[in-house]
Structures are given as C-alpha cells and as structure tokens.
C-alpha cells in the first residue's frame, strides 16, 4: 500500500521526506562537507574536480555548478544542507531563498518587508497565487518574459 503523502499538492513546495532524502543522500552529504574550511577552499579552487569526488548524479553536479537551488531540491537536496553552498559563496539565507523565486534580491527583500508572500491562492496547486507554476518566474523577470511572449503572439497575428 502506498504511503500517505498529503503534502504533494502544496503550491511551489517540495517536502523533504524519506524518498527525497534517499535520492539526495550524496548531494546533501557533499554540502555537509563544506562545513570544513579546508573543503570550502578546495571546492572553490576547482568545483568540478571536488564534485567528482562524490558519487552524485551528473544532473546533481550540474545543478550545483549552476547554483540552481530549485533543481537541487527536485533532485533530493534539502535547503538546510544546500545552505552550506550559499555560505561558501558568502550568501545569506534570504539571498538563497529569494533566488528560488526568480525575483531580484531587492524585490524579494521588499516583499518580506511588506509582510511576506500572501497565503491567498498559494495553498493548493491550481489556484492563482504568485507561487503557482504559471506565474513563474516572479518579479520583473517574470513580467518581462510574459510581455515578450505576448508581443511574440501579437507579431505572429495570434490573439
């Protein structure tokens, strides 16, 4: 019988459960190694070579090299482990969290000062809140992308 996972339909959210943890074991353990200053130095000197010392998948290595935290999480990473990469890069937790929304650092910081992201429309996949898939990326980057695609449709004579 399948396990009960009522959290799979929460908007823009990946729950780090036993299955994700199994997928991400070496990715997260690599992150953990960055707690040691000597490892941070070796990683920064040659990221690819350092990653190749770990039995991670190629996809996981590419996601780390690109600092694509959403991809890292999809591949089994957990944010508290991935934060060690951010610390190595000198990034704050807010910068890391913001990077997953597509917003600029300033846009994300401003959203938090205004009281944070609203829960409305963001409880369940399929609603219309700002964290829903059809509204990514967020912020100016998303507006530009949507304007571009609207302009493209217009140029091609589409509605």
């Amino acid at each position: 019988m399948a396990l009960n996972k009522p959290y799979l339909d929460v908007t823009g959210t990946t729950i780090f459960d036993a299955e994700q943890s199994r997928k991400g074991y070496w990715l997260n353990q690599f992150c953990m190694s960055l707690m040691k200053a000597e490892n941070r130095t070796r990683f920064k000197a040659n990221e690819r070579a350092y990653l190749d010392e770990w039995p991670m998948t190629e996809e996981q290595k590419q996601a780390v090299l690109a600092r694509d935290l959403n991809r890292c999480i999809a591949l089994g990473g957990n944010i508290y482990f991935l934060a060690k990469i951010g610390a190595t890069d000198g990034k704050s937790f807010q910068q890391m969290a913001g990077s997953m929304t597509g917003m600029t650092e300033q846009e994300y910081r401003d959203m938090m000062i205004r009281g944070g992201r609203s829960i409305e429309g963001n409880r369940v996949v399929g609603e219309d809140g700002d964290a829903q898939a059809h509204r990514q990326p967020q912020g100016a980057a998303g507006r530009a992308a949507r304007e571009d695609s609207a302009a493209g449709r217009k140029a091609r004579g589409e509605a």
Binding site: P6, Y7, V10, T11, G12, T13, T14, I15, F16, D17, A18, S21, Y25, N28, Q29, C31, M32, L34, M35, R40, L69, N70, I73, N78, I79, Y80, F81, A83, K84, G86, A87, T88, S92, F93, Q94, M96, A97, G98, M100, T101, G102, Y108, M111, M112, I113, G115, G116, R117, I119, N122, R123, V124, A131, Q132, A133, Q136, Q138
Partner: protein, 285 residues
C-alpha cells in the same frame, strides 16, 4: 523536588544572531524586533532559573543524513557553538546539566519516549539565538542548559500530539528530581516561514496569531492539528512550531493545575524570511 517555573517560546532565525553579533541591532530594520524582547531580558534577570531545558532543532549541523534522531537529549557537561559555514557565533560555551539531563532521559524513556542520548554535540543557531534574545551578550550564559534536539528537517517529523505528550513526560521527570531546582522549558523555531521553492517567503500572520491564542488557551486541541495544516498554512519550515508543544505540554495546567500567566506576547514580521513569535508563560506559584 525540581519544578518547572515557566515556559518561553521564541523563533530562532539565524539572521537575528548575525545582527546581534555584528552590532546591528540599532538598525531601523531590526529595532522593532529587539524592542519586542526588551521586557524578556528584564524578566530573565528577575526570574533566573537554575536550568533551562531548551527544545530546538539542529539545521544539518550536528546531524547530517548519517544519523537522524527524532528526539535527542544532550547529556554532556558542555556544548560548543557550531561553525555553520560562516564561522562559529561569538557566544559563550553552553554548559550542560549532566545529572538532570540523565535523570530526565531515564525517566522519559521509562515513560515510553525513546530518546537518543547525545554526549558530544555542537549546538547551532537554533539553540544559541533564543539564548541571545533572552540573555543579551553576557560573558557566560546565566545557567546550565540542557539541549533537546527535535528532527523537523526530514519528514515525517514527530506529530504535534506526540510532542505535547512528551512535554508532559518531561514535566513528570523534572518533578521526580530530588534537588529543588527551578527549571524553565523553552520551545523554539517558527513561526510561519518557507525557505524553498517558488513559495519561499510565505508568511501567514493570521494563522500564526491564532496559533499563539490556541497555544495559550487550548493546547490540547492545538496538538491535534496535523502536519499538513502547518505545511500548507505556515510554510514548509513552519512545521518547526510542533516544538512549541513540547514546552507547552510541560506546563502545570495540562496536568490539572492552574492555567499559566501570560507574562509577555510579541509578534513581528519579518526577520529575514520569517515571522517572529514570542511568549512567556509562568506557572502560578
């Protein structure tokens, strides 16, 4: 006998620790947050306990994926503030209380809660930030601290119900200790926050304030709230709030005593990515 005099609840956001350590508490961004803890530092000086039993979670610091204990009690003589990647926080070493911690471990395990006993463990911001908020920047912490780490990183984490019952077992354990110690129990973490994915930055102030109301007035009912509600309403990291139910379960009214006195209540958004909540509840003398 030892007794639980009060419970304290607080978020443990790492950026708060950084603001204190770097002398930035006077910045406009941080002023309202630290103002909310002014009373608490005063209260702490006037109500200094003999021991703090501090419920927190480790954030991939002492525990990697090699070992994931659901409930871990620190029974060592001392605990070193961890290097979480930015260098260790410049705060005092945490002195444990090995005798009381071992006593609680034995009692609680005999009471059906299977704790992991930890004799070597560095402690991260989850434990040291609440100490800084409540005690300021002393040369030494005001009393010994028993670290109690709860897994809220890998699902499934313990249920609110389980945490609430564990708090009750901890109270019984404390009260069966012969020395007349005054013990405070602190529950930390939360409130609403999400640090990952497109929904990062979620805050649900209405839900948080309802949680504070219910924690004070109807903790037993609150303990029945399932994980999914925390995740959906308060964000994937908002699940840390189950730890507050351990501290609440240890209060006298849960075992038929008088309701606690609410000494202080504070709520503020934001600290970095997080809604900060804070309560001080005293057991009536």
């Amino acid at each position: 006998m030892a007794r639980i005099t009060a419970s304290v609840y607080s978020s443990h956001v790492p950026a708060i620790g950084a603001a204190i350590d770097q002398g930035r508490t006077g910045e406009p961004y941080w002023v309202p947050l630290f103002k909310g803890y002014e009373y608490s530092r005063q209260w702490m000086q006037e109500n200094r306990p003999d021991v703090i039993f501090l419920v927190y979670n480790d954030h991939a610091t002492a525990f990697s994926l090699e070992l994931i204990p659901t409930f871990a009690i620190g029974t060592a003589a001392e605990f070193t503030p961890a290097d979480e990647g930015y260098g260790p926080r410049p705060v005092p070493k945490v002195i444990g209380h090995a005798e009381l911690a071992s006593h609680i471990a034995q009692s609680v395990i005999q009471d059906d809660f299977d704790l992991t006993i930890v004799n070597r463990m560095d402690v991260d911001h989850g434990l040291t930030v609440p100490l800084s908020l409540m005690c300021g920047q002393p040369q030494a912490w005001p009393c010994p601290v028993i670290p109690f780490a709860v897994n809220v990183v890998q699902y499934p984490v313990p249920s609110g119900r389980r945490c609430f019952m564990l708090g009750q077992a901890i109270r019984r354990a404390v009260e069966s200790y012969d020395e007349p110690l005054k013990v405070q129990i602190w529950g930390t973490g939360g409130m609403s926050h999400q640090l990952q994915g497109p929904r990062a930055g979620l805050i649900n102030a209405e839900w948080d304030n309802r949680f504070l109301d219910r924690l004070i007035a109807e903790p037993e009912e609150l303990s029945k709230v399932p994980h999914i509600e925390y995740v959906r309403e308060a964000g994937s990291e908002g699940i840390e709030l189950v730890m507050w139910l351990i501290a609440r379960g240890a209060m006298a009214d849960v075992a038929g005593g008088k309701p606690p006195v609410v000494r202080h209540r504070f709520f503020h958004v934001p600290a970095s990515n997080t809604a900060v909540g804070h309560l001080i509840l005293e057991n009536p003398q």
